[in-house]
């Protein structure tokens, strides 16, 4: 999982550097806010994944070391580009994953979204059916099995 986190971490670190340089080069607010929004979004992903996904945490915290070695190991894994260990087993040895059934709800959800948005333009005669259809879609979507 480490490379997946590094993918976002690199984005966040790069944007932090560029955002800082941009601010001092221009003192322009809109662009600086946008760049720091990228930093926040990328690091939020890394933080949430590292906090809640055990595989992700295991991927960046090295086993068997303590103190400074552990910290350096984390830094190395975060900014390195090592890959996961190799596997030569049959990739489908565990069996086939389930494939979902078709569903009528995605196109109906699309129609509901269409009515809701056009309702903002043309008025309640489209907005109200859109709200009803959207509510029905949520119910149908959630209640349909996988």
């Amino acid at each position: 999982m480490a490379e997946e986190l590094r993918f976002f971490l690199r984005t966040g670190v790069y944007s932090a550097i560029v955002g800082t340089a941009y601010w001092f080069a221009s003192y322009e607010v809109a662009g600086s806010v946008l760049l720091f929004f990228v930093v926040f979004a990328a690091l939020a992903f890394v933080g949430v994944a590292a906090a809640f996904v055990r595989q992700a945490r295991d991927g960046i915290v090295p086993d068997g070391s303590t103190g400074v070695g552990r910290v350096l190991g984390v830094v190395n894994r975060l900014f390195g580009y090592g890959d996961e260990p190799s596997s030569s087993s049959d990739p489908l040895a565990a069996g086939l994953d389930p494939v979902p059934l078709g569903s009528i709800w995605p196109p109906i959800a699309g129609i509901a979204a269409l009515l809701l948005l056009l309702g903002l333009l043309y008025g309640p005669w489209l907005l109200l059916p859109g709200i009803v259809l959207a509510a029905g879609t949520v119910w149908g979507w959630v209640s349909q099995g996988t």
Binding site: M1, E3, E4, F7, F8, R10, T11, Y14, S15, V18, A21, Y22, A25, S26, E28, A30, G31, L34, L35, V38, A41, A42, Y81, D83, E84, S86, S87, S88, S89, D90, P91, L92, A93, L96, D97, P98, V99, P100, L101, G102, S103, I104, W105, P106, P107, A109, G110, I111, A113, L114, L117, L118, L120, L121, W141
Partner: protein, 552 residues
């Protein structure tokens, strides 16, 4: 281990009983069918937007107004750009990604199949809503695909067409965000065992970086569109300088999306040619990791170049954006070096996918070279809003994205449909398109340097050099249209009339996992997979099987 043991058709589960025909396509959550829906809908918008450009070329062939008034011309160029960028190039890339990412990583489907289907319907309805402006009394949106405020506000662009354009783009943008989340989740969590991140095919990597760009920039565009909608409909003043708003804010928000959008439109197509060139050169891709990191660097740099579109506003740091814009040439050059090195001393087969890939390299190179010129503020001041800019981005997006898209169609159509497209018609298509493209877009460089502004329906008859170049450009556009007609005939003849050669599982000697399964793949994609020990597992297995075969 033998190929017989790993026959992809072995022990496939029976397909679930399901509706057939149009209902099947409407209710499908199968990534392959959704991919096809994206691709064919995208091609529909390509033809529609292409017809708009032909109408514009007809008008510009001679000075004076022959076929339409200026307002209609404004609608045409607005919807041409909107259609090509939002409803053709990106959706076709997303369609190919939908079809091939699960296949390339050894997964049965995407992570969220129903959300995937919802994304498609949002995109389709969004496109129809945006184009439906043509059916309203005031006509379609007419303020350019960039929607600059205050031109796009209710005062200067009244009418429903502008509002429909905004709503269509909001739907399309939301669709893109959902699709990007799906691709990231699929690539991260559904890879077959052994398919590590640095064994992902280059196409999948490029889609991953594209998805990151979409996830970061599309919300910015969507927010800006909502603000513009509020300004237009309920008296907001986000972009109204007279009421304390800022027109420049629109440009910042739009281009913070708009420049990464260029890379959203080109990275998937970099990925396609990176799949094709090694296969048709009989070699491994040169510098796999360098390629991946160059892609990441292009994605990262694309966040920091947006205001090179705003040099002439005088309110941005031109030095900062000139430096960051020119830096993009470095990772792009790395990619070019890798493509050339992959072909170097290879056993190159000049079949249609490879011809289009080479065409892509040459055409994109021209677009790429004119990029650093435009990244120089001094030159940009001279050619800003002229046909030079039109030439540049058409070499990037037509010479780049469209050539590579057709390379991908010829390469992957056998996998998607079970039929090979005709090589003879394919080669006619390629040469006509190469000729038409250069006759259309190359003279625009000179036209721009001569000072002809873009987005005008008429020009003075006294500018005889402009007239000559415009005649040439219109002639080239007609050849381009003819080349697309050849492609359409090829698809109808080979696929729909089923006259094309039946495709084997692996007609090209491909490397990645999509070539392991049948053509077209079964509902479940795979019943077996080869061991995955590199980024080209099918090649590895084929050569292992060769090594294991009895000799003599």
């Amino acid at each position: 281990m033998t190929t017989t043991e790993l026959d992809p058709r072995a022990a496939l589960p029976a397909r679930n009983p399901a509706p057939t025909g149009i209902v099947d396509y409407m209710t499908t959550t199968d990534h392959k069918r959704i991919g096809l829906l994206y691709i064919f809908s995208g091609l529909g918008f390509f033809i529609l937007s292409g017809i708009l450009s032909l109408l514009m070329r007809a008008e510009l062939t001679e000075p004076g107004l022959q076929f339409m008034d200026r307002a209609t011309y404004n609608e045409l160029f607005t919807m041409h750009g909107t259609g090509m960028i939002f409803f053709f190039a990106a959706p076709v890339a997303i369609g190919l990604a939908n079809y091939f990412i699960p296949l390339q990583i050894g997964a049965p489907d995407v992570a969220f199949p129903r959300i995937n289907a919802f994304s498609y319907w949002l995109f389709l309805f969004g496109g129809l809503v945006a184009f439906s402006g043509f059916l309203t009394a005031g006509g379609a949106a007419a303020f350019g695909w960039t929607g600059y405020a205050p031109l796009s506000d209710g005062t200067y662009s009244p009418g429903t067409g502008g509002n429909l354009w905004i709503l269509g783009l909001i739907m399309s943008g939301t669709s893109g965000i959902l699709g990007a989340l799906n691709f990231v989740a699929t690539s991260f969590t559904m890879r077959a065992p052994g398919m590590t991140m640095f064994r992902l095919p280059i196409f999948t990597w490029n889609i991953l970086v594209m998805s990151l760009l979409i996830m970061i920039t599309f919300p910015v565009l969507t927010s800006a569109l909502v603000m513009l909608f509020i300004d237009r409909t309920i008296g907001g003043a986000f972009f109204e300088p007279a009421q304390g708003g800022s027109a420049i804010l629109w440009q910042h928000l739009f281009w913070f999306f708009g420049h990464p959008e260029v890379y959203i439109l080109i990275l998937p197509f970099f990925g396609i040619v990176s799949e094709i060139i090694p296969v048709f050169s009989g070699k491994r891709i040169f510098g796999y990791r360098g390629f991946v990191f160059a892609t990441m660097l292009i994605g990262a740099l694309s966040f920091s170049v947006w205001a090179h579109h705003m040099f002439t506003t005088g309110v941005v740091s031109n030095l900062f954006f000139a430096i960051t814009s020119m830096m993009i040439a470095i990772p792009t050059g790395v990619k070019f070096f890798n493509w050339i090195a992959t072909m170097w001393r290879g056993r190159i087969r000049f079949e249609t996918p490879m011809l289009f890939s080479i065409g892509f390299l040459l055409m994109f190179l021209i677009g790429g070279i004119t990029g650093p010129f435009l990244a120089s503020p001094t030159i940009d001041y001279a050619v800003h809003d002229t046909y030079y800019v039109v030439a540049h981005f058409h070499y990037v997006l037509f010479g780049g994205s469209v050539f590579a898209a057709f390379a991908g169609f010829y390469f992957w159509m056998p996998k998607m449909t079970g039929r090979l497209l005709s090589e003879r018609l394919g080669k006619w298509h390629f040469w006509l398109m190469l000729l038409g493209m250069n006759l259309t877009f190359f003279p625009m460089h000179q036209l721009g340097l001569d000072g002809m502004p873009r987005r005008v329906a008429d020009y003075p008859a006294s500018e005889t050099a402009w007239t000559a170049l415009n005649v040439l450009i219109s002639f080239g556009a007609a050849i381009l249209a003819l080349s697309i007609l050849v492609f359409a005939i090829n698809v109808v003849w080979s696929v729909f009339l089923r006259r094309g050669v039946v495709a084997a599982n692996d007609p090209w000697g491909g490397y990645s996992l999509e070539w392991w399964t049948t053509s077209p793949p079964p509902h479940h994609n795979f019943a077996s997979l080869p061991p995955i020990r590199s980024e080209r597992p099918v090649y590895d297995f084929r050569h292992q099987a060769d090594a294991d075969a009895p000799h003599g």
